[in-house]
Symmetry: C2
Subunit: 263 residues, 2 copies
């Protein structure tokens, strides 16, 4: 790595390069040099304005933001508040910087959908190139985990339930759990990892209708399995002759143990 104007002496290891108050030319060179480099995350803290054109149009007035370009070409511009960036681009086909009218401009574009984010830098306070490491990540408690757990222990939903299939496709969309109750009736189970609203009821109703259409001679039950339901959703269930069963998303011991470990 050759040192640049404004580069600091401790640019080793994770911190590949740091520029303090770079000129537009050196910022553009810095950006073009590091963007999309393997495992390098580029960050610029600057007064800048941001324009977006694509599925919608937006303008962020000149203000101080943190601009982040990751090695996969994703771009995000963070303001003072919120997890969500002010502007972003999850995938880009091209990210490049240039100097225009004495200012460094970063343009990130993608086709399909055709979109552009343009960042015009005014005062640049800091530019960093960081070399991050990928590390293992595990998540549990998704709907998929819940489905696997209930497929192993269907009695949690109802005594005598036998699972016939998971992710059974009926027309469009898939039935989370397709089962047989103790009386030989078909059971369509729709799972929700969190409180269920009427969309969940609608989904369940669609699947039940699809099964009834395919198997007209059999009785078909519909069960919404979730940790809780909203009141209107429960009414909708009752109205349509569907059922609700309370199931907790995570094994009860797990979160408690985790909470204990954290405090």
């Amino acid at each position: 790595m050759k040192p640049r104007r404004g580069a600091l002496p401790y640019c080793v290891g994770v911190l590949r390069e740091q520029l303090s108050s770079p000129t537009p030319v050196s910022l553009a060179a810095f950006l073009n040099g590091h963007v999309r480099s393997c495992d390098v995350l580029v960050q610029v803290v600057a007064e800048c304005e941001v324009e977006y054109a694509g599925r919608a149009l937006s303008t962020a007035d000149a203000g101080c933001y943190v601009v982040m370009v990751k090695c996969d070409g994703s771009l995000q511009i963070h303001g003072a508040r919120g997890v969500k960036p002010v502007n972003w681009q999850p995938r880009t086909d091209d990210v490049s910087a240039f100097v225009e009218e004495g200012r460094c401009v970063l343009v990130a574009s993608r086709r399909s959908p055709e979109e552009v984010v343009k960042v015009t830098f005014h005062d640049v306070h800091l530019a960093l190139a960081l070399e991050l490491e990928e590390a293992g990540f595990t998540l549990s408690g998704s709907e998929k985990d819940m489905q696997e757990a209930l497929a192993r222990s269907p009695h949690v939903i109802e005594q005598g339930l036998t699972v016939l299939d998971r992710e059974l496709l009926v027309g469009v969309g898939g039935i989370d759990l397709y089962a047989l109750d103790r009386d030989g009736r078909l059971v369509v189970v729709e799972l929700k990892r969190a409180r269920a609203g009427h969309e969940a009821v609608h989904q369940l109703a669609r699947y039940v209708a699809a099964v009834r259409l395919q198997v007209p001679h059999r009785e078909v039950r519909g069960i919404l399995a979730a940790p809780s339901v909203t009141a209107p959703a429960r009414e909708a269930l009752t109205r349509q002759g569907l059922e609700f069963v309370e199931v907790t998303a995570l094994a009860k011991s797990e979160p408690a143990a985790m909470q204990g470990a954290l405090f």
Copy 2:
């Protein structure tokens, strides 16, 4: 601002404070001193591991991440790829740092839902406190804009249409546009800024049913207005005696002009 161990000389303006390779004690002091300060965004680049317990459970193995805490208490931990952080917490009730077994630990928690994110710092490369500025932001092309435009020019949907109401509440949810056609029939219009799927059809059907219930003696039409529909959604519309009208989300001239301005 009093200078800390490792603080750099150019800590003025936007860059409130910068620490290079701080000790666990100084990092904890730094975090507790800056977190939730007005307009201050705190960032730490470090080898760390992250645990999350709440709606789900997750663990990120020790690796190099960018940890960001904004002044509203939101937390996000970014890895090398993607706009989405590895871990995050959109709202927190408490963010605090302390030293545990010789390591700085950051804990961000919230009640309702009860959630905790714990970051254990190993090697800390950089810690920044940045003072960001809020600036104006405008977005156009949202469904709300579309609704306003169509309320002004309902003939775009159909000749002779008269808008009676917008966001009319019927039971749960609101009718985007409630209108009267040239023959005096009531018209429920559901808008979508992007391609509409069967959820949009379901929404429309619910609203139409609600209006028919409230006004049993009147004929009620249902129109889905969107730039396009999926094939299954179109079938569902036909099946339920509902209609589709193609409306483009943005005025055709706008995006083209914007694109031109950007390149």
